[in-house]
């Protein structure tokens, strides 16, 4: 039986890795926002930060990945100056819903990183639309859901294959789950 007096200790190694992952996802997020708009439709993004979430789901426990995702959203809000603005809530709800969906998908070992990434891309778009409709008090935006589903496929494949390559490289370094989950 776990004791409540016992302090849950986080190893320095894990702390460094968590910080590294948060920094990495913030960097990818910043790189993405600097990119000129590639797509004619608003709301379609590459979702590069999702690559880190997928990788982390293969390395860390889900609760650690939750911390990474939440801190990334908050810190990006600070850095971009969008903290607590509508844009912050929209991207935050997309990121959290996408994390929840991917963490659930991870429980089915038959999905590879690509499948998990597809689930994440779809959930990200649904989360964003849901937050927009809550903020505007109008469900009209769900008209665009089919388009966002179609676009989620190439975006999910891109992030999925990137994550897969990164996980493969991490295996060689021994930083992944082969050393036991962090």
């Amino acid at each position: 039986m776990p004791s409540f007096n016992k302090q849950t200790r986080i190893s320095p190694r894990k702390m460094v890795l968590l910080a590294l992952m948060i920094t990495l996802s913030m960097g990818l997020h910043a790189a993405e926002s600097m990119m000129p708009l590639l797509f004619p439709m608003p709301g379609i993004k590459l979702g590069l930060a999702n690559i880190v979430t997928v990788i982390c789901l293969f390395i860390f426990y889900p609760r650690d990945v939750f911390i990474i995702v939440t801190l990334r959203v908050i810190l990006v809000g600070f850095v971009a100056g969008s903290f607590l603005t509508p844009g912050f809530w929209i991207s935050g709800s997309g990121a959290i819903l996408s994390f929840l969906a991917m963490a659930a998908a991870c429980r089915f070992p038959k999905y590879s990183a690509v499948g998990i990434s597809l689930v994440g891309a779809v959930a990200h778009n649904i989360g964003q639309l849901a937050m927009v409709s809550v903020l505007m008090g109008n469900q009209a935006v769900f008209y665009y859901l089919p388009w966002l589903l179609v676009w989620a496929v190439p975006m999910g494949l891109l992030t999925g294959f990137s994550a897969k390559a990164a996980i493969k490289a991490l295996r060689k370094t021994g930083l992944d789950g082969t050393m036991g989950m962090y």
């Binding site: 608003p42 844009g87 903020l135 008090g137 109008n138 008209y143």
Partner: protein, 160 residues
């Protein structure tokens, strides 16, 4: 990619296809329905201006009546002259937004005080169900179908 990934991918595409089919079958207003321009803005809450729809083809927003008296910034005359190109301004949370109506093309937001300019990049909307959202300005322009409102002569009874 595993076989299950492919099944998942097919499922997403299938769900999108169902969504498109649903919109194609039910999205176009029938002849007795109207196309309603639904405008939400912080200055005056929510207002509606209805427009007749000509056999599913967008011909121009023509206002027959407006349910909101407090359409500050939009004169009803602006909307009534459906055949002409029109510009008008509405007040958003961050500042004014300029709406543009082009006959046969639809309605677009051409200028807005917001950081991401998503509303401007959305471009023209002209079909029922489409909308332009500017979340920072708390403004939404949506085209929706609605049952036609009866003329005053059709009123069955007035309760007093």
């Amino acid at each position: 990619m595993s076989r299950h990934d492919w099944i998942l991918l097919a499922g997403i595409v299938f769900a999108a296809a169902i969504g498109f089919a649903f919109q194609a079958f039910f999205g176009n207003p029938s002849e007795d329905q109207m196309l309603v321009l639904h405008l939400t803005a912080p200055a005056y809450g929510s207002a509606e201006a209805s427009a007749p729809e000509d056999a599913g083809v967008f011909r121009g927003i023509k206002v027959e009546r407006t349910t909101a008296e407090a359409l500050e910034g939009i004169s009803i005359a602006d909307l009534e002259s459906g055949g002409e190109e029109r510009y008008w301004q509405i007040q958003g949370a961050n500042g004014p937004l300029t709406l543009h109506f082009a006959p046969g093309q639809g309605i677009e937001i051409i200028e807005a005080q917001c950081p991401d300019q998503i509303c401007v990049r959305t471009g023209f909307i002209r079909k029922a169900g489409q909308s332009i959202v500017c979340v920072p300005n708390e403004v939404m322009v949506a085209l929706q179908t609605a049952e036609p409102t009866k003329d005053k002569g059709d009123v069955d009874a007035i309760l007093q």
